[in-house]
C-alpha cells in the first residue's frame, strides 16, 4: 500500500490525476475544448453569483435538501440479539426527476450557459441521467441529444418516453452490447464533430479531467447535507457510508465530504451473474488499470487491452470502467469495494419495497443488498447511511422480465 496522504480531499492534481489515475486521454480536436471547460469550471467554482444561482435551483427546482430518513423497519428486520446497525437512507430518489443525477446536470447546464454553448449532448445507461439532462435542457431551452444503447432503450423504456416528452432527441447506439460504454463512445464522436457549439454533459465521475472532479463537486451536496442531517438525528457522524457504483457519481457525492473523517466507506459494484461467470460489471474487483473514455482507471479488458463487455441487470451499473478517484481510493485502501449479484439486488429490491414502501432503483438496490448482508453483524450503535440514489419506477419491466427468466 502507498503512503497515506494527510488529506484525501485535495485531488486531483492540476493535470487531473488522482495518483496513477485520471488524466486527459482525448483526441487533439477535443483538447482545446476540454481546457476551456476546465477554465470555465475553475472560474465558476469561486464565483459567488454562479454558486448562489446553483443553490437556488437546487432548493426550489430540484427540491433539496433531500431527506435523511431513518429506515426503522429495515433496521429492525436486520437486527439480531447482539447487533444490527441503525440504517438511514439519503433520499436522492425524492429529487425532481427521481435520482441524484439532476444535481450534476443542474451544475453543468449553468456552466454550459456560461460558456455560451447552444447544444447539449449526453450519454445515458439507465436513462436517469438522460432524463435529468433533458429536463434541465427543457428548463433552459437548449436543444439536447441523448445517446443511449439499444439494449438499454429496451430495458428502460419508461425513461425513453420521458426524454422524448421533454423534447430530447434520442440516438440509439447499436455498437458493442448497446449499453453505456457504447453510448459514451458515440457521444464523444458527436462532440469531436461539433466542438464549437456543443457542450458534453457527462453523467458520472468519469471522462477526461475536469469531469471527474467537477461531477464529484456537484454531487458533493449529498454528503454535505448528510453531515448536517445526521448531526441533527444522532448528534454525531455516521460510522459507515454505503453506495452503489456505476461510474461512481452518487458514491463520490456521498463519500467525498467524509474522506478525512473516521468513517468506514463501502462502495458496491455489480457482479451480475457472478464474477466467476465473466458476466459482471465489477471493474475494481475483476478489472485492471487501463485507459478509456479520457481517463486511466480500472477497466474490464482482456490480455490484449481490448475492453470487454460488462453485464448487470441494472443498466446504470452496466459499465466496464469506474471513475478514476474511486480507482485511487481503492488502491490506497481508503474505501472498500464489494460486489452484489443481479439476484441479490432483485431480492433487496423486493425487501426494501415491502418493508419501507420505497421502490428503489435497481442500482440503489445493489447497495441495499450489501446492507442486508452486513448490518446484522455490526454493533447496535453503528450508524450507517445508504445512498438511495434513485427510485425504481423505471425498473418495473426489468424486474418482471428478470423474474420471468429466472422462474
Amino acid at each position: 500500500m502507498m503512503n497515506q496522504p494527510n488529506t484525501y480531499m485535495d485531488g486531483p492534481d492540476e493535470d487531473g490525476h488522482f495518483g496513477l489515475f485520471g488524466g486527459r486521454y482525448v483526441a487533439e480536436t477535443l483538447m482545446p475544448l476540454i481546457l476551456e471547460v476546465e477554465r470555465a469550471y475553475n472560474e465558476a467554482k469561486d464565483d459567488e453569483a454562479f454558486q448562489t444561482e446553483l443553490r437556488g435551483y437546487l432548493k426550489n427546482y430540484v427540491g433539496r435538501p433531500s431527506p435523511l430518513y431513518f429506515a426503522e423497519r429495515l433496521t429492525n428486520k436486520l437486527a439480531t440479539d447482539s447487533g444490527g446497525a441503525r440504517i438511514y437512507f439519503k433520499r436522492e430518489d425524492l429529487n425532481h426527476t427521481g435520482a441524484h443525477k439532476v444535481n450534476n446536470c443542474m451544475g453543468q447546464i449553468l456552466l454550459a450557459r456560461k460558456m455560451g454553448k447552444n447544444r447539449v449532448i449526453a450519454e445515458t445507461g439507465a436513462g436517469m441521467h438522460g432524463v435529468a439532462t433533458a429536463t434541465v435542457c427543457a428548463l433552459f431551452d437548449i436543444p439536447c441529444t441523448i445517446y443511449m444503447g439499444t439494449t438499454d432503450i429496451e430495458r428502460q423504456s419508461p425513461n425513453v418516453s420521458r426524454m422524448k416528452m421533454l423534447g430530447a432527441e434520442i440516438i440509439p447506439v447499436t455498437s458493442g452490447t448497446g449499453t453505456l460504454k457504447d453510448a459514451m463512445n458515440d457521444a464523444l464522436r458527436d462532440w469531436v464533430a461539433n466542438v464549437e457549439t456543443t457542450y458534453y454533459l457527462i453523467g458520472t465521475v468519469a471522462g477526461p479531467h475536469p469531469y471527474p472532479a467537477m461531477v464529484r463537486d456537484f454531487q458533493s451536496v449529498i454528503g454535505e447535507e448528510t453531515r448536517a442531517q445526521i448531526m441533527e438525528h444522532e448528534g454525531r457522524l455516521p460510522d459507515s457510508l454505503i453506495a452503489c457504483i456505476g461510474g461512481g457519481s452518487n458514491a463520490m457525492g456521498l463519500f467525498f465530504p467524509f474522506l478525512d473523517d473516521e468513517v468506514r466507506i463501502i462502495a458496491v459494484e455489480a457482479s451480475g451473474e457472478g464474477i466467476e461467470t465473466g458476466k459482471h460489471a465489477a471493474s475494481l474487483n475483476a478489472g485492471a488499470p487501463g485507459v478509456l473514455h479520457g481517463n486511466r482507471t480500472y477497466l474490464l479488458q482482456n490480455e490484449d487491452g481490448q475492453i470487454t463487455d460488462a453485464h448487470s441487470v441494472s443498466a446504470g451499473l452496466d459499465y466496464p470502467g469506474i471513475g478514476p478517484e474511486h480507482a485511487w481510493l481503492h488502491d490506497i485502501g481508503r474505501a472498500e469495494y464489494v460486489s452484489i449479484t443481479d439476484k441479490e439486488a432483485i431480492d433487496a429490491f423486493h425487501i426494501c419495497t415491502r418493508l419501507e414502501g420505497i421502490l428503489p432503483a435497481l442500482e440503489s438496490a445493489h447497495a441495499i443488498a450489501h446492507v442486508i448482508k452486513i448490518a446484522g453483524d455490526l454493533p447496535k450503535d453503528h450508524i450507517m447511511v445508504l445512498n438511495m440514489s434513485g427510485r425504481g419506477d423505471k425498473d418495473m419491466d426489468s424486474v418482471a422480465a428478470y423474474l420471468e427468466r429466472n422462474k
Binding site: Y25, M31, V291, L292, G305, I307
Partner: protein
C-alpha cells in the same frame, strides 16, 4: 537506419521528386490476417509512400463507422498487438524503405507495456506511432519512443489554435498530421481553402513535413490537397473497399485485396499528376 531517419529519407525523396506523398491507412488484420498482410505487402508497388497500419481497438472513439467496423472485423478474426507486429515483420522482409506508422489507441499499448511494446515494434521494423488519445499532455510514450529512434507523430486539428500549437509541435518528430476536419474519420471533407489557410498557420510553428488527413476519398481531392501538403492520408476509402468485397459471412471475396490496391493506384496516380507541394 532508425525509424525517424527512414521517415525523413522518404520525405526528402518525395521533395526531390517534386510531389506530395500518399499515406495509406489500413487496419491490421482486416478482413483477416492473410488478406491484410497481402494488401500490406503490395501497398508500396501500388503507390503508397508511407503506410499507416491501424492497431485494432474495441472502442475506437475518434473513428467513424467504417473504421469501427473494420477494427471489429479484425478483432473477430483474432487480431492482436502481437499479430500486428508479426505483420510488420513480414512486410520488412521485402521492403526496407517504406515507413510504417502504427496508428491506434493507447490502452492496448499500455497493457502490453509501453517500454516493451516500443522495443518490440522497433525490432519488428516500425518507424513511428500515432496514438489518437495521447495528446502532448499525456506524455508517457514520448521518452521510450525517442530513445528507440522512432517518431511520435502528433495530431493537430482545426481547434488547435496558435496559443496551443507550440505545445503540440514541441516534441513532434517525423511529420505533423493535420486532421483537416473537426470530426471522426470517414465522414465529412474540409474545404481546400480552409486547409490551405490552416497549413500556413502550422508552418509558422514547425518546419516538419505535414500530412493532411480525414475526409480524403478521391484522386481529385488528393491531388488538390497535395498542392499544399507534403503528404495526404487516405483511410476510410480503402477500408470501404474491403467492406464492399466481403461475402455475407464477412469473409473476403476473391479480388478483395485487388479492389483496395486498385484504389491506391488511382489515388497515387491523381497525386503524381498534381502540382508539387509549395514549401
Amino acid at each position: 537506419m532508425t525509424g525517424t531517419e527512414r521517415i525523413a529519407k522518404r520525405f526528402a525523396d518525395l521533395k526531390a521528386e517534386g510531389r506530395a506523398g500518399l499515406v495509406t491507412f489500413i487496419t491490421a488484420g482486416d478482413p483477416n490476417f492473410d488478406v491484410s498482410s497481402s494488401i500490406l505487402k503490395q501497398l508500396p508497388a501500388a503507390g503508397a509512400d508511407i503506410i499507416e497500419l491501424g492497431m485494432p481497438f474495441s472502442d475506437p472513439m475518434a473513428d467513424g463507422p467504417a473504421i469501427q467496423a473494420s477494427s471489429q472485423r479484425a478483432l473477430n478474426k483474432g487480431a492482436s498487438m502481437i499479430k500486428t507486429l508479426d505483420m510488420v515483420r513480414e512486410f520488412r522482409k521485402s521492403d526496407a524503405d517504406t515507413p510504417i506508422i502504427l496508428m491506434g489507441y493507447f490502452n492496448p499499448i499500455y497493457i502490453y507495456g509501453v517500454e516493451k511494446f516500443t522495443a518490440a515494434a522497433s525490432e519488428a521494423g516500425v518507424d513511428g506511432f500515432i496514438i489518437v488519445d495521447l495528446p502532448p499532455e499525456e506524455a508517457e510514450m514520448r521518452a521510450p519512443v525517442e530513445n528507440a529512434g522512432l517518431s511520435f507523430i502528433y495530431l493537430t486539428a482545426p481547434t488547435t489554435d496558435d496559443a496551443r500549437l507550440p505545445t503540440v509541435v514541441e516534441h513532434a518528430s517525423g511529420f505533423i498530421y493535420y486532421v483537416s476536419v473537426t470530426g471522426i474519420t470517414g465522414t465529412k471533407s474540409a474545404a481546400t481553402q480552409d486547409i490551405e489557410t490552416a497549413l500556413k498557420r502550422l508552418r509558422r510553428h514547425s518546419d516538419l513535413p505535414i500530412a493532411v488527413g480525414f475526409g480524403i476519398k478521391t484522386p481529385e481531392q488528393a491531388a488538390e490537397i497535395g498542392k499544399y501538403a507534403e503528404a495526404v492520408v487516405v483511410g476510410s476509402a480503402f477500408v470501404n473497399k474491403v467492406t464492399e468485397n466481403l461475402d455475407k459471412n464477412g469473409n473476403p471475396k476473391d479480388g478483395c485485396a485487388d479492389a483496395v490496391l486498385g484504389l491506391v493506384r488511382d489515388i497515387a496516380g491523381g497525386l503524381k499528376s498534381g502540382s508539387p507541394a509549395t514549401v
